[in-house]
Structure formats: C-alpha cells, structure tokens
C-alpha cells in the first residue's frame, strides 16, 4: 500500500494548476514538433530543452517528459499518415501506412492512440513498483560496477541503434573523447582546450545536440528534396465494436513486452516496437493479416513504444545510468536543474520522482485527447511547406544555443558541430551513441579512476567483483558472437563467390 500512498503524494504534486499547465504544454509542443518531418524525440528535446531553463524544477522535468512522450506519439501519427520513417517509429510505417492506403487512416490513428494509452498506463504501474526496488539494488554498486554498466550500455546502444557494433562503439568513444574537453576535475589540468577560454568548461551539450540532430537533419532533408504529398485529411475515427475488441489483447501484449524491454540497457522504444511486432506476427489470431494493414500490427507496436518510452526512465532514476541517448539528454536536463539522478533521488526528492510518475499518467490523458478526437487538426501541420519550416527550425536552433549562456559565440560552436554532424551522417555514423558517450564520458572516467585508486592500480577489481564481472563477461560474449558472425558471413560470401566462379567455367567445359 506504500505505493498507493506514494502515488497519491505524487498526484498532489502533479495536479497543481502550474504543473498541469506545464504537462499540457509539454505534450502539445512535443506532439507538434514530433509531427514535423525529420525531427524525432532526440531533436525535439534538444531544441526545446532551453525553454525549460526558467521554469521551476518539478515543472521543468514534467514538461520535458511530456515533450518526450508527446514526440513519440506525434512520430507515430506522421508514420501512419505519411510514411515518414522516423528513427523512433519505423514499425508504425509498415501496417499503419498500409491501413492508410486502404483508406482506414482514422482507424489506424485511433488504434495507435488507444494502444499508446494502454501501454503508457501499464508502464506507469511498472515504473512505480520497480523504480524504488531497483534503487535499493543500486546501493550495492561500486565504481567498478558503474564502469561495467556504462560499458554494457555503450555496447547495447551501439548495436541496437546502428545495427553495427563497430560504428556505434566508435561514436560512443568519440562522444567520450568530446566529453574530455575542458577542465579535469581531479587535477585541474585543462585538456584539449587549445587554449580557448570558452572551452575551459567543456563543449556545450546543447551545441552538440543541436548541431548533430538539428542542423545535420535539416541539411539531409534539403539534400533529399523530398516533396511530401499533402495528406487530404479525410478520416473517420470511430471504430466498430469488433474492431475495438481486436485492439485490446494486442495492446496488452505490447505493453508487457515494451515495459520489460524499456528497462534493459540499450533498450527503449525502437527495439520494443520491433519485438512487439514480431510477437504479434507469431501469436496473434489475425497473424496472416499483419503486414498488409492489420489492427494488431499497429496496436502492439504502439503500446510497446509508449510503454518502453516510460519504463526507460527506471534505470535513469533508480541507478543513475541512462540507458539510451534520449535518457542521456534527460539526465543532462536533471543535472542542469541541480538534481543528480540515482539511488538517492527517490529518497531525496520524493516530490520530484512521484510527481513525475503521476504526471506521466496525467500526460497520458492529455495525449489521448490530443491524439484521438483532435488528431485531424494536427494533420494540417503537414500542409506547411518545408521551405517555411526549415528556416524556422534553424531559428529555434539559434535561440536554443544562445539562451544557454546568453552568448552569441556559442552559435559558432553549434555550426561547427552541424558540419561534423553532417559528415557523420554522410559517413553513415549515427550520432545517437555519441550523445550517450558524451554525457556518460565524464562519469565513466570518474568511476574508472576511483576504481583504480581503490584497487591500487590493479585491473582485477573489474573482474573479481560479482556485478562488474558478470556485466563484463556479457560484453565479452557479445563481442565474440559478433566476430564469429562476421567471419561466418564472410566465409559464406566467399563460398558463394567461389561457386559463381566455378559455374561459368564448368558451362564452358
């Protein structure tokens, strides 16, 4: 019953007029920006982060969380209606867009909205039960364990977001190195600052985020010159009863899968969607229809998406280690507000933790209103031509960079990272792991040095402690498996090439 008591306490904080307003603003703005082409949750949060600087802590975090899951919702709307493949809603493009082609856009949007609501609700129950429990476990973690956990996060995120362990890890490490720029906290030595005074405090997080996600994305879209066909906006939202009945089981399955996968390192919405979709394809009563515009194909993944988006807060708030790039940005926002996420947060700032949990449910209600009855008004966003949109996004990037320190020179740094981000993009390197590396880098170094101090310079500490030992062996096994897979594929390709060489020769013979 402790949980109920705590939740009531949380609702008392979330339901003040002020926080309700912040939640509503966050959800609305998040959905709106999430709808725009090429702007996923990461870009949305980094552009809007500066807006929360002048807001009180609890309100600011409630608003940011609202922006985050609002952007998730908005993404699925643009995926269903326009087949705009956002990083976070790839799966919604499959069946959702098929339903649009069949003229069932309204039904698809209704399904996505209701399933997301179910997913969000299940995830909040999981969040309020498990976060405090995991927080207790986190007290067992020593510096070596934290290092190992961060490395697990790097490996998982690298693999999940980019599909290529090498590229992802490279980006993580580049992020860690960028995080090294500035003053070393242990010795006071200035590192990699090239004697520029403005680098003494390190590179600004917002500059990197806006450069890599804002500027680079805009340029990519301009390069593609994709003219979007405006959506005609003819939708019928109300489903029939049999259609409605088909949503529920699939959405519940998706919620459970999403809640679980959201907690794991490297997990989060993307992988949860794929898993839920795959499970639906195996066990659903209508599995033969999935892929050609079935309700289940939309419901399961939408629920998993939303559930994972919320449970991924668990590792951040209870252990203090963000498990994916979006959560890393969230962590930066917590730190900007003077809150260190971690095992002490729930005890030290209960109003913040429980207020945030409660506000997620409030936000859920806002979103279902915004996305089901009002969705037709949102669709007019798609009528804005890109020629109007991209100067506006550029402007927001500038204002966002400027308002961090009220310094116009920061815009030059953003421009530099815009160029680097564009180069990354063209070299097929995903900037999301870079963000994670950049934010975790200083923590990793701190814990690494502390662990070595404790063990008097022996690396044995990383392998003899049970938690870090297990985590590091998981990484080792994973790397071995990747190596084996690469060589196996290379051999198969060689054999195939060999056969192709033999075949013409034997024909001639």
């Amino acid at each position: 019953m402790d949980v109920l008591h705590n939740l009531a306490f949380g609702f008392a904080h979330a339901l003040t007029w002020q926080n309700l307003l912040f939640c509503a603003i966050g959800c609305t703005v998040g959905t709106l920006v999430g709808l725009l082409p090429g702007l996923g949750p990461l870009a949305t949060i980094s552009i809007l982060l500066p807006l929360t600087y002048s807001i009180p802590t609890t309100g600011a975090l409630i608003m940011l969380a609202g922006i985050y899951y609002g952007a998730q919702y908005g993404d699925s709307v643009s995926a269903i209606t326009m087949k705009i493949p956002h990083a976070s809603s790839i799966v919604a493009c499959i069946d959702g867009y098929q339903m649009t082609l069949k003229g069932k856009t309204g039904l698809a949007l209704f399904t996505a909205g209701v399933s997301s609501f179910i997913g969000g609700t299940v995830a909040i129950v999981v969040l309020s039960l498990f976060a405090p429990m995991l927080g207790e476990v986190a007290f067992l973690f020593g510096p070596a364990d934290y290092c190992a956990l961060m490395l697990v996060g790097f490996v998982c995120v690298s693999f999940v977001t980019t599909g290529s362990l090498l590229n992802g890890l490279a980006m993580c490490l580049i992020g860690v190195l960028l995080g090294q720029i500035g003053t070393d906290v242990n010795s006071g030595q200035q590192r990699f600052t090239m004697d520029f005074p403005f680098l003494a405090e390190g590179v600004g997080l917002i500059s990197i985020a806006l450069g890599c996600f804002g500027i680079a994305e805009i340029t990519k879209n301009l390069d593609n010159k994709d003219e979007r066909t405006p959506f005609n906006g003819e939708i019928n939202l109300i489903p029939t009863w049999p259609e409605f009945k088909r949503i529920i089981p699939s959405a519940l399955r998706g919620s459970v899968i999403g809640s679980f996968l959201g907690i794991l390192p490297g997990g989060g919405p993307v992988i949860a969607q794929f898993a839920a979709y795959a499970v639906d394809k195996k066990v659903s009563k209508y599995k033969h229809e999935i892929g050609s515009g079935a309700i289940e194909g939309v419901a399961g993944q939408a629920a998993a998406d939303e559930a994972a988006a919320r449970t991924s807060f668990i590792p951040l708030m209870s252990i203090g280690i963000p498990e994916n790039a979006v959560m890393a940005l969230m962590m930066a926002a917590f730190i900007i507000k003077g809150i260190q996420p971690g095992p002490n947060m729930i005890a030290g700032h209960p109003e913040l933790f429980w207020g945030l949990v409660a506000s997620m449910w409030v936000g859920n209600c806002f979103l279902i209103v915004l996305n089901v009855p009002l969705v037709r008004y949102w669709l007019s966003v798609f009528k804005i031509p890109y020629a109007v949109l991209f100067p506006s996004i550029l402007f927001f990037c500038c204002i966002g960079t400027f308002s961090v320190n009220n310094n116009l020179d920061d815009i030059f740094i953003t421009a530099v990272f815009g160029f680097i981000g564009y180069a990354f993009l063209r070299l097929d390197l995903d900037p999301a792991p870079l963000m994670l590396g950049f934010i975790l880098g200083p923590m990793l170094e701190e814990n690494f040095r502390r662990a070595l101090l404790i063990s008097r310079g022996s690396f044995g500490i990383f392998f003899t402690r049970p938690i870090s030992g297990v985590l590091l062996s998981v990484i080792g096994l994973f790397v071995l498996w990747q190596l084996a897979a690469f060589f196996w594929q290379a051999r198969k390709a060689n054999v195939a090439r060999g056969l192709a060489n033999i075949a013409p020769a034997s024909l001639e013979g």
């Binding site: 490279a170 805009i218 340029t219 301009l222 500038c398 815009i411 815009g418 063209r426 097929d428 170094e445």
Partner: protein, 140 residues
C-alpha cells in the same frame, strides 16, 4: 577513394590520433595514481583500434560512394554564422532577416515574398520569447 567505409575508417583514425597525441602531452601517471592523460589515451587507443578494423574491413565489403553535398551544408552554416555575427554587431532582427534569406537558397524554390513572411513570423515569435518568457534576446 570515394568509398564510404574506407573514409569512415580514416575519419575515425584521424579523430583518435588527434585526441591520442593530445593526451600524450598531459601527465599520464600510473594505474594506481592515474594522471589527467591516462583515460583519454586509453579511449583513443581503443578508438584507433576500431578505426583500423574499419579500414581493414572496408577492403572486404562492397564499396559505397559518399554523397557529400557541399552546397547545402555551406549555405546553412553561412546563415548560422551570419546570424550570430549580425546579431552581435547590429541586432537580432536584422540577423533573423539575413538568416531566412540566406538559408532559403538551400531550398528547392526561392520566393522573396515567402521569405519576408517567414522572417516576419519569426520576429514575432522572438518578440514573444523576449516579452512573455523572459529570454534575454538582443532584438533591437
């Protein structure tokens, strides 16, 4: 030479060398008393390893050309820098107008009337930020 996999490897190697050589300039220390240079040096070595593997691997996989469009990124960066310079020396309203007109060159069509409308809209938004949200923008 125009091979995305190879260039990626070289790019990673270059970054690791820049940071690795930089790290050698700081005190390395010992493992039981790490100096400021130790951690960046270790990370750079790991990155160098990944870069070298990427280069080697690029010899065995199919070549993909890089599509690097200099024009658009140059226009966008020029409009950003122009915005910062003009806001610094003149004021931000002029900066916004410059940014909109300069950035529009990257679009698929150019229209002065549309640019004026966009600029006017953004100036209104900036004014709202300044007056309502308390942002400290040097608008005029």
């Amino acid at each position: 030479m125009n091979d995305r996999n190879l260039l990626r490897g070289l790019f990673i190697v270059a970054i690791s060398l820049v940071f690795g050589i930089g790290a050698l300039g700081y005190q390395i220390g010992h493992f039981d008393r790490p100096g400021p240079g130790l951690f960046p040096l270790m990370v750079s070595c790991l990155l160098l390893l990944i870069g070298v593997i990427t280069v080697v691997r690029s010899r065995f996989v199919e070549r993909v050309p890089v599509a690097f469009n200099v024009r658009n990124i140059a226009i966008i960066l020029a409009s950003l820098c122009g915005f910062a310079l003009i806001s610094e020396h003149l004021n931000m309203i002029a900066g916004i107008v410059f940014m909109v007109f300069c950035a529009a060159f990257a679009g698929s069509s150019y229209s002065v009337v549309r640019n004026l409308k966009v600029a006017a809209g953004l100036i209104v938004v900036a004014l709202a930020f300044q007056k309502l949200l308390g942002f400290n923008l040097p608008l005029y």
